[in-house]
């Protein structure tokens, strides 16, 4: 359970998140959507304790700011927007870096850490690539390795900052299905920033629409992803339709206007 109250984040002298409050129940998936520059990433990083912020963030009832850096990393794991691709690490070594919060300052991995990494590699379907260099993975496979590294932290909260940016449709689905499966099986709480509204609607329990550093709408996908709301905040007309399985599909109403 994540509870944020009056969260304010500044980048330099400029406040980019203005007093946001939200609740994310344990085991649910909240997607934060909104135009570029709305402050989505800043808010996510503040919830993860990775950006200084004022206000109050509580994880499972305890204040985030009372946690040590390591304790926090055991509770919250981040899948960054553009993860650094290390030059010379094998996939297994990369996933093992997720064990950092479970090790002492100069400690190195023991048998239990290797077992956990091997389990995670199987979960993200990369056991076959354990010995390969991460630089040889495809974009989708590398994203799965990043999710694997986050899982190796054994955190109950997973923060995904635009987890599918730069991925083709198939790879987007692979990553999102993976996270969704984990959430269902292991009860992990997921907070993600998403650009693709159809994908956000498909995987999230709730959607928060963020504009200019503030939440302007929050609720079930059908409540937030309404043509009038989206047109007002994105500046384009959209159609919101239902697919064959009653899923929400958001498409621009006018292709010419959709690319300003």
């Amino acid at each position: 359970m994540i509870v944020a109250r009056d969260l304010r984040v500044s980048r330099g002298r400029r406040e980019v998140v203005h007093g946001v409050s939200l609740d994310v129940p344990a085991g649910s998936w909240l997607s934060v959507v909104g135009p570029n520059g709305a402050g989505k990433s800043s808010m996510l990083l503040a919830i993860a304790g990775l950006l200084p912020a004022s206000g109050d963030v509580r994880l499972d009832g305890g204040p985030l700011r009372d946690l040590t850096v390591r304790a926090r990393a055991r509770m919250v794991a981040l899948v960054p927007q553009q993860p650094v691709l290390p030059e010379s690490l094998t996939v297994a070594e990369y996933v093992l870096l997720g064990r950092t919060p479970h090790l002492s300052l100069f400690g190195s991995e023991a048998g239990r850490d290797h077992e956990q990494a091997a389990r995670v590699l199987a979960t993200v379907d990369l056991a076959w690539a354990a010995d390969r260099l991460v630089t040889t993975l495809s974009g989708g496979e590398f994203h799965r390795a990043v999710v694997g590294r986050a899982l190796a932290q054994e955190a109950r909260v997973l923060i995904l900052d635009e987890p599918t940016s730069g991925l083709d449709l198939g790879h987007q689905l692979q990553v999102l299905e993976l996270v969704d499966g984990l959430r269902r099986r292991q009860g992990i709480t997921v907070v993600s920033a998403m650009h693709d509204l159809t994908m956000a609607a498909r995987y999230s329990d709730r959607i928060a629409l963020m504009v200019d550093g503030q939440l302007v709408a929050e609720g079930a996908p059908g409540q937030v992803l309404r043509p009038d709301v989206l047109e007002r905040h994105y500046g384009v007309a959209v159609h919101v339709m239902r697919g064959p399985n009653d899923e929400l599909i958001v498409v621009p109403a006018n292709a010419a206007r959709s690319a300003p």
């Binding site: 990083l45 993860a48 990775l50 850096v69 390591r70 926090r72 990393a73 055991r74 919250v76 794991a77 981040l78 960054p80 993860p83 650094v84 290390p86 030059e87 010379s88 690490l89 094998t90 297994a92 070594e93 093992l96 870096l97 997720g98 950092t100 919060p101 090790l103 300052l105 100069f106 400690g107 190195s108 991995e109 048998g111 290797h114 077992e115 990494a117 091997a118 389990r119 199987a122 379907d125 056991a127 076959w128 354990a130 010995d131 260099l133 630089t135 590294r149 932290q153 692979q174």
Partner: protein, 355 residues
């Protein structure tokens, strides 16, 4: 998804879970053996090279406490060649491991041990002692260089550690550049006011192992051992830091503190090396890169291998420095640059650049 069917048919067993990273482990063992072997051969060559010819087999015998050497040959080996070889190895190891640590901690492939103003500080310290005419006093020159190097790094840290500077690796790098420029300017000023000591100042700046004896070895040894031990213990930390501040913090690293540990240890090793051998360029830059390119290994392995190959590299460079124009001697900094640059180009071409 690839091999998904294989996974289903081979569920996660204990055997599957055990091997951590066999490829990485095999690579570590293989290259460590190569590194130790190369170091051993380098030491032999270092002991063999010199005006008085001593057969290699006799040197081997002497090394295991045996052999049929004359008293004079024993003295040459024990009092002249061995301390110089050990000093070269120590300095080469210190500079290489510091370079490796700086490159990872700052995520900058151009980072070298002299980055944060340690060279400029050491140069200033040494210059002051030389122009004061105190260079002959025991330990005065190395002590001044050591303190100067630490002062340079300390100033760079002070500049970067203000809230306005953001305490980032970039602000530390910029602080280092500013401190180095300032201290070099002061050093040049002092040097120009005392041109009679120019030759001695240059000898320091170009690096020297010629005056090295057991005194210098003992002076540098504790610091180099301590710093190397810290850096070896931090090799996993280096891997985490090399992911950048955000990802390292998300993994539970205390980024500012952890980087400080690495930088302080590396600076200590650098200061000790500079104190006893002057400024020997290129070693800290090229050895870690060459090791990384040749082995394809991660920071974790490169730290230890840099110690081994850095020691070997400088021992062999020193052999060249004292044999190429014998009985004269070239400044070792000239050799490291003349060998280092083409060698680096070769490795760069062969590996197709940094992986």
């Amino acid at each position: 998804m690839k091999h998904a069917s294989q996974l289903e048919s081979a569920p996660l067993t204990q055997e599957r879970a055990r091997p951590p990273a066999p490829r990485a482990r095999r690579r570590a063992v293989r290259w460590t053996v190569v590194g130790v072997a190369v170091l051993f051969v380098s030491v032999l060559i270092g002991l063999f090279a010199g005006a008085v010819r001593i057969p290699p087999m006799s040197i081997l015998g002497w090394m295991v406490g045996d052999g049929n050497l004359t008293e004079q040959q024993r003295a040459i080996l024990a009092q002249l060649r061995l301390p110089r070889v050990v000093l070269a190895g120590l300095v080469g190891a210190a500079l290489s491991v510091s370079g490796c640590a700086y490159q990872a901690a700052f995520r900058n492939p151009l980072a070298d041990p002299y980055l944060l103003g340690s060279a400029a500080g050491a140069g200033l310290g040494a210059t002051i002692v030389i122009v004061l005419g105190a260079a002959e006093a025991p330990f005065a020159l190395p002590a001044a260089a050591f303190l100067g190097a630490l002062m340079g790094v300390g100033l760079a840290y002070l500049m970067a550690s203000t809230r306005a500077a953001g305490r980032t690796s970039t602000s530390l790098l910029l602080g280092g550049v500013a401190v180095a420029s300032f201290l070099t300017a002061v050093q040049t000023y002092v040097q120009q006011r005392n041109t009679s000591d120019l030759r001695e100042v240059y000898a320091f700046i170009l690096g020297r192992l010629g005056t090295g004896g057991w005194h210098e070895v003992l002076l540098a040894l504790p610091w180099v051992v301590l710093a190397s031990a810290v850096l070896l213990a931090s090799r996993r930390l280096l891997e985490v830091l090399s992911l950048g501040d955000l990802e390292a913090a998300s993994l539970g690293a205390h980024v500012a503190r952890d980087r400080a540990i690495v930088v302080i240890a590396a600076s200590l090793a650098t200061a000790a090396a500079v104190a006893v051998a002057g400024l020997i360029g290129f070693v800290g830059l090229i050895v870690p890169h060459a090791v990384r390119m040749a082995t394809g290994a991660s920071h974790r392995l490169v730290v230890g291998l840099s110690l081994l190959f850095g020691a070997s590299f400088l021992i062999l460079c020193d052999v060249l420095a004292r044999t190429v124009v014998a009985p004269g001697e070239l400044p070792i900094g000239v050799i490291t640059a003349m060998i280092g640059a083409p060698f680096f180009a070769f490795v760069l071409r062969r590996s197709g650049g940094a992986r």
